[in-house]
Amino acid sequence: MDCSLVRTLVHRYCAGEENCVDSRTIYVGHREPPPGAEAYIPQRHPDNRIVSSKYTFWNFIPKNLFEQFRRIANFYFLIIFLVQLIIDTPTSPVTSGLPLFFVITVTAIKQGYEDWLRHKADNAMNQCPVHFIQHGKLVRKQSRKLRVGDIVMVKEDETFPCDLIFLSSSRGDGTCHVTTASLDGESSHKTHYAVQDTKGFHTEEDIDGLHATIECEQPQPDLYKFVGRINVYSDRNDPVVRPLGSENLLLRGATLKNTEKIFGVAIYTGMETKMALNYQSKSQKRSAVEKSMNVFLIVYLCILVSKALINTVLKYVWQSEPFRDEPWYNHKTESERQRNLFLRAFTDFLAFMVLFNYIIPVSMYVTVEMQKFLGSYFITWDEDMFDEDTGEGPLVNTSDLNEELGQVEYVFTDKTGTLTENNMEFKECCIEGHVYVPHAVCNGQVLPDASGIDMIDSSPGAGAREREELFFRALCLCHTIQVKDDDDVDGPRKSPDSGKSCVYISSSPDEVALVEGIQRLGFTYLRLKENYMEILNRENGVERFELLEILSFDSVRRRMSVIVRSATGEIYLFCKGADSSIFPRVIEGKVDQIRSRVERNAVEGLRTLCVAYKRLIPEEYEGVCTLLQAAKVALQDREKKLAEAYEQIEKDLILLGATAVEDRLQEKAADTIEALQKAGIKVWVLTGDKMETAAATCYACKLFRRNTQLLELTTKKIEEQSLHDVLFELSKTVLRHSGSLTRDNFSGLSADMQDHGLIIDGAALSLIMKPREDGSCGNYRELFLEICRNCSAVLCCRMAPLQKAQIVKLIKLSKEHPITLAIGDGANDVSMILEAHVGIGVIGKEGRQAARNSDYAIPKFKHLKKMLLVHGHLYYIRISELVQYFFYKTLYDTAYLTLYNISFTSLPILLYSLMEQHVSIDTLRRDPSLYRDIAKNALLRWRVFIYWTFLGVFDALVFFFGAYFMFENTTVTSNGQIFGNWTFGTLVFTVMVFTVTLKLALDTHYWTWINHFVIWGSLLFYVVFSLLWGGIIWPFLSYQRMYFVFIQMLSSGPAWLVIILLITVSLLPDVLKKVLCRQLWPSATEKVQQSTKLKASVTAAPNTDRPLLKDLLPRPRRH
C-alpha cells in the first residue's frame, strides 16, 4: 500500500516533468531500436493500475477530516466546540463535542466503507488476467503489471486492458470490430485497422519478431484524436515510417467484437488511458430543499449572532451598576478582574454564542442524511418499480435528491430507448398498395391477429407477384448488414427457418428489423461471400447477386442504394430511404396509394421507409461506374462530389413499396406522460432522431394531441425566413393565445383548449444559442424561452448530446429557476443527465452509461410516474416536515441539550420522515394533479418557515413564562418545600419534550405500529431516562445536581397541572390553525384526504371488493 503510494507520487512527479516533452516514444516489445536510429529520451510511464479510490490507509483520517470540515456546518460546530474548550461557558464542551464527534464518525465510516469498496473494485480490475507476449510465448499476467511497450493479445468479447496500437488481427484484412458502448455509448460496431506493415504477423512468434518504435503524442482525453507514427525496422536497416491515426488506436474500455483475437502494443496505461482521463467524478448535486435548508440556517445564524450581541450588550448594561457586577456573595476571580474589558466582552459574546448555538441544529444534518439514506431504500424496495423482464429494480445512486423528485417542473426525456423500447419490429410492408403483415413471431407463437390481413398466400396476380418478390429481394439486398454465423451461442435473433442460427449485425437497428421481417416473409439473407450476396428464397433456392456498388446512407440524403448484378446478368439499383427523399425521385409506381399508407403509418408512430428500384442497362452502369470512380478519387471536395454523383444516379426510380417498422413505445409511456402533464410538469422530448419520426412518437405517446397546434422552428423554415422573423411570428401566435386564455388552462386538460406544441431542430437551436455579433445574444434566447414556456409540449429533434445539455441548462438558468429532470438511457443522454437537477437513467439496451451517471436508474419509463408522483411527493412532504420540525424544536435551550436533540426527539421525526403518507399511494397515483400542491418548494417557503419559527417562539414563551409565573411567589409542593433552579429547568424541559413529540403526533397522518412505538416509546424513554438519571448517584459525575429533581417534581400535584396546561396551550394555536385552514381553504391534497376518508367509511360496509382496500393489503407475489 505504502509502496504504491510512493510509486504513484513518483509517477505523478515524473509525469509533471514529462509534460515538457510533447511526444513519447515506445519500443514495441521493449526492443531497443537498432543503434543507427535516433536516440530518444527515455521516459517513465505509469503502470496499468487504475486508481479510483480517494483515500489510502494512511491518509484516510487527515484527508477525510479535512474534507468533512470543509462543510460549513461541521466547521461551525467545530468552532463552537473549540470555543467551549477554551473559554469558560455555561455548557460543557461535551454537549457540543459529542454530537459533532458522532456526525463526523458516522460520515467517516460511511465514506471509508465506500472507499473500501472502490479499493476492492480497483484491485479486482487491476488483477484481471491479461495475455502478454513475452519471448514469443503467451503469458498471463495481472492487468496492473502491464507496461507501456508490452504486446498484448485480446480475444473476442474481451475488453482492451489499456490503450493499444492495433498491430494485427486474426482477420485476414487486418481489421477488427469494436464496440465502444461503455466509452461513448455507441453500441454500433466500428472498424479499426491494423498497421499496414504489421498486419501480417499472426502468431505469437511472428509478433515477437517485430522490431519497431512508436512515436506518439502525450496522453490527452479526446477520444477521437490521436496522432503518432510507427517506425518499423526490417533487415534492410531502413525504417519504414507509417502515420498512425485514431483508426489504429484501440481504447481501453472498448470491447472486441467479431474478431477472434488481435495483437496490440500498449501505449497509454493506467491513469493515462483516454478512458481514465475522461473519467471525472460527478459534481455534487444539491436539492432545492437543501438549499432552502441552508438559507434557513443562515437566517438562524444571523439570529444567533444578533441574539448573542444583544445579550452581551444587555449584560454589560445590567452589570454597569457595581453591586450587580460583583455582589458581595459572588466574587470574581483574580484573573477575571484583571482581564481587559474588550477581551471580556468578546469572551462573553462567544459564551453567548455557545449558549445559544443550539438553535442551529447539529443533529439535523445527521437526521436529514439518515432520512435520505434510509428513505432511498424504499425506492429500491418498491415492487411496482421492479421490472420482471430484465430482472432489474430501480437503483439509487444519490440519495441526496429524494425530495427533489417531488419538485420537478420540467422533464426532459430522450426518445429512443426511453419513451420507446428501442426494439425495432417489422410491422408491415405495402407493395403496390397491398398490405402485407408478416406472422408476428412472438416467443415462437404466431399471433392470431396477424391472420386477418395476411395476404401473402393469396397472391394478387402474376405481375404483382413478380413485383412482390422484387420488393423482398430489394429489402434483402439493400442494406449494410453483416452476418455472424453463430452455431453454438444462443443468439437473440435466431432465424427460425434455417437450420443454423445467424445473427445480423448492423449499425442501424431498422435494417436488422427489416431483414428479419423479410425472413419471416420467406426471403432470407444468408451472407456476403466474395462480393456475392446470397439469398435464400421461398423455394429454398439460393440466389446469388454480385454486389457492385454501395451508395451508403447519409443523413442529408436520407437514403441508401445498392447496385447488384443478378445471376441472369441484369443490373439493378435498389434504393431505400425516407419517404420524403424517395417520392420526388420516383417516376413510376402507385405513388398515391403508397403515400397514403406511409402517412397513415407515420401518424401511428411507425418508422417508414420506401423502397424503389431501377433497372440499369450495362451502358448506364458503365456511366455510373465512371461517375462514382471520379468522385471517389477526387482529392478536393470529395464529399460534395460524391453527393452530386449519388444525386445523379438515384433518379428516375420505380416505386416498389414501403415498409413500416415499429419502435414500440414503452409500456404505459403515454399514460405516464399524460399523468406528468396533469401534474403540471412540462415534458420535453429531446432526441437525435429525425423530425417526422420524433413527432410521430410524440403523437403516439400523447405528448401532442390532435388539437395541438404545432409550431415548427426548423432549419427549413429558417431558410425561408430569417430566424428573427420566425421567432417573432411564433411568439406572437403563442402569446396571442395564451393572452386570451386564463391561467387555468395551464393545465392543458380541457379538450377544447388550443394548446401549442413546439418542434425545434438542432440546427435551429444552435442558431438561437449562438451569440450574435452585435452582442445582443440574450435576445433570441429570451424570446425562445418565452415561446417554450407557453407551449404545453416541446419536441427537440436532431439534437447532439451537448445540445441536449444546453437546452437543460437554458431552462435551468431561466428566470424561475425551475427544477429539471432529465431521463435517458444512452450515452448521448449522459451530458443532459448530469446537467439536470435530477438525472434519471433508464437501464436500457444502449449500455449502462446513462444509468451509471444518473442519480436514479429505473428499468422502464413508466416507472417515472410512480417515482415522481408517489415517491417524490412523499419524500418532499417528509423532508420539508423534517426540516421545519428541526428548526421548530431547536428554538429552546436548557439542560439535557445534547440528548434532547439527538435522542429524545430525533427518532420520532426520523421515523415520521420515513413512514409518513399523508395521502395513500394509490390516491397519489390516481390523481396526478396533487403534485401541483407541492410544486415550487411550496412547503419550504418563507411564509411557512416564519410560521414554524413563530410557533417555536410562541411555545418557548409559553414554556418559560408559564413555568416562571408558576415558580415565582409560589410554593408548588404541598409540603411547603421549595424547588430550585434545576427543578425549573427540568419542568420546562419535560413540557418541551412532550409538546414537541405531541406536535409531531398531530402532524402524522399515517399511524403504523412503528409510529406508535416510536412516538410513545420516545416519551417513555424520556421519562425512564429522567428517572434513572435523577434516581441514581452516578459515580463518574462530580456533580449530582439532577439528583432526584425529576422524581421530586413528579411528586408534586401542581407540577403535573402546569405540565398539562403548558402542553395544551402550546399545542393549541397549531391545531387551531390546521383546522381552520382545512375548513376554510382546503388544498387539493386535503380535499383528497377528506374524500378518501368518506370512501373509507363507505368501505366499512360489507362490500369489500373495492379496489382501494384491496390495494392496501399486501398483494400476492407475482411470478
Partner: protein, 350 residues
C-alpha cells in the same frame, strides 16, 4: 463472462451480482412496500370540536377548583429591610460584622391560619442563578468524601475555595453559595396579651428534600464533628465554623444543617423564598396560628441593601395545590373558556 476493465462498469456489475444473491425481486413485505396497516389520523371538524370542547371543559373545571383552593390560602408577608433600617444600615459596612443587631416587627393576624403554617424568608434581587455562583460548590465535599476539595483543582483560585488569609487552607463548606448563607434568625412570638409573650413553637425538620438530607449531604466520618473538620477553615463570611451550626442536635449539625441544605438548593429567579420553619402544632397552635398579635424578632445579619435587595418574612398555609397563586387557576380558566369560544367560531364556519 467478458472481462471488464472499466472500473465503473465493474462496480455496477458487482452491485448487480450481489443483488442477485439477495434475490433481486424486492421483498413483498408491507414495510418495504410502505404499506403497513395504518390508521389515518384525520382532523375532522366534529372530532376536533368535541376534542376542544372536552379539553375546554376539563381546563375550566380544573381552573375553578384551583382558584377556589387558592382563595382558601392565607398568606402574610412582611418586608423588614425598611422596618429594620438601622440594622440594614449597620450591615452596609462589613467592619460591623460582629455587632449584633436585632429588630422586632409586631403585626396583627386578623384571621386564624388553619392547618399547617409555614414560615419562609424571601429575598428580592438576590441572584442565586448566576452562572459562576451556581457552580461555586463542591458536591463531593458536601457528601463528606472530598473534604479538602482536591477534585476541584481547576478552581484553585476561585473565591471561597481556599482561605487566602490562612495559607490557603481549604474552606468547608467551600464556594460562594455556602459562603453567602442566609444567616438571619427569625423568631415568631405570640402576644397572647400585653404581658404574655410566648415563642411560637417551630419545627426546623422536614424543610429539606428527603434526598438532600439523607443522600446528597453527609458529614465526614469521625468521632466528633469538630475533629472531622480539622484542616479546614470556615467560610470567610461565617461567624462560626460549620460544625457549630447546631450544637444541640448532631443530626442538624455540620453539612446536615437544614437551613444550610435549604440554602444550597439554589433558586431559579432573583426573587425567591425559602422555607425556614414549620409550625409545631401543639398547645395553642393545634389548629394553626390563632388570630391575634404577633411579632417577629429578627437577628439582622444578612446584608441586602448592598445589592439593593430586600428581605421579607412570609407566613403561609398550603393546600393540595401548593401555595397561594391564582396564576395557575386563572391560566386554566382562561384556556378553558377560550376553547369553547373558538369552538363557537369554528362551528359557525362549518
Amino acid at each position: 463472462m467478458s472481462q471488464k476493465y472499466n472500473p465503473i462498469t465493474w462496480r455496477t456489475k458487482m452491485k448487480k451480482t450481489s443483488q442477485i444473491c439477495q434475490s433481486k425481486l424486492p421483498d413483498n413485505t408491507a414495510l418495504k412496500q410502505q404499506q403497513l396497516p395504518a390508521y389515518r389520523l384525520q382532523l375532522s371538524a366534529t372530532g376536533v370540536l368535541s376534542g376542544f370542547f372536552a379539553t375546554g371543559a376539563f381546563c375550566l373545571g380544573v381552573g375553578i377548583i384551583l382558584i377556589l383552593s387558592a382563595k382558601s390560602i392565607k398568606e402574610i408577608e412582611i418586608k423588614y429591610t425598611k422596618i429594620c433600617a438601622n440594622c440594614a444600615e449597620l450591615r452596609e459596612d462589613a467592619i460591623n460584622f460582629d455587632k449584633e443587631c436585632t429588630c422586632s416587627i409586631p403585626f396583627y393576624l386578623s384571621e386564624t391560619m388553619q392547618g399547617n403554617v409555614y414560615l419562609y424568608y424571601k429575598l428580592y434581587g438576590f441572584y442565586q442563578n448566576l452562572y459562576r455562583y451556581i457552580l461555586s460548590r463542591s458536591n463531593s465535599q458536601l457528601v463528606g468524601t472530598d473534604l479538602k476539595v482536591r477534585l476541584y483543582l481547576i478552581w484553585y483560585n476561585t473565591p471561597f475555595f481556599k482561605d487566602q488569609s490562612h495559607n490557603g487552607t481549604p474552606i468547608a463548606p467551600c464556594g460562594a453559595i455556602a459562603n453567602s448563607i442566609f444567616n438571619d434568625t427569625i423568631i415568631l412570638s405570640y402576644n397572647l396579651n400585653s404581658s404574655i409573650h410566648m415563642e411560637v413553637p417551630m419545627l426546623r425538620s422536614g424543610i429539606t428534600w428527603w434526598t438532600d438530607k439523607y443522600v446528597k449531604f453527609r458529614n465526614p466520618s469521625a468521632i466528633n464533628l469538630s475533629s472531622a473538620f480539622t484542616g479546614t477553615a470556615k467560610p470567610p463570611y461565617w461567624s462560626k465554623p460549620v460544625y457549630e451550626l447546631d450544637l444541640e442536635d448532631t443530626e442538624n449539625n455540620g453539612f446536615l444543617n437544614d437551613d444550610f441544605i435549604v440554602w444550597m438548593r439554589t433558586a431559579a429567579f432573583p426573587t425567591f423564598k425559602k422555607l425556614y420553619r414549620r409550625l409545631n402544632r401543639v398547645q395553642y397552635f393545634i389548629e394553626g396560628l390563632p388570630a391575634g398579635n404577633y411579632s417577629f424578632n429578627i437577628t439582622y445579619n444578612f446584608p441586602v441593601t448592598r445589592f439593593k435587595g430586600e428581605k421579607s418574612v412570609v407566613l403561609s398555609t398550603l393546600t393540595w395545590s401548593g401555595g397561594s397563586s391564582l396564576f395557575l387557576g386563572l391560566a386554566y380558566t382562561v384556556t378553558g373558556s377560550s376553547l369553547p369560544g373558538r369552538n363557537y367560531r369554528l362551528s359557525n364556519n362549518c
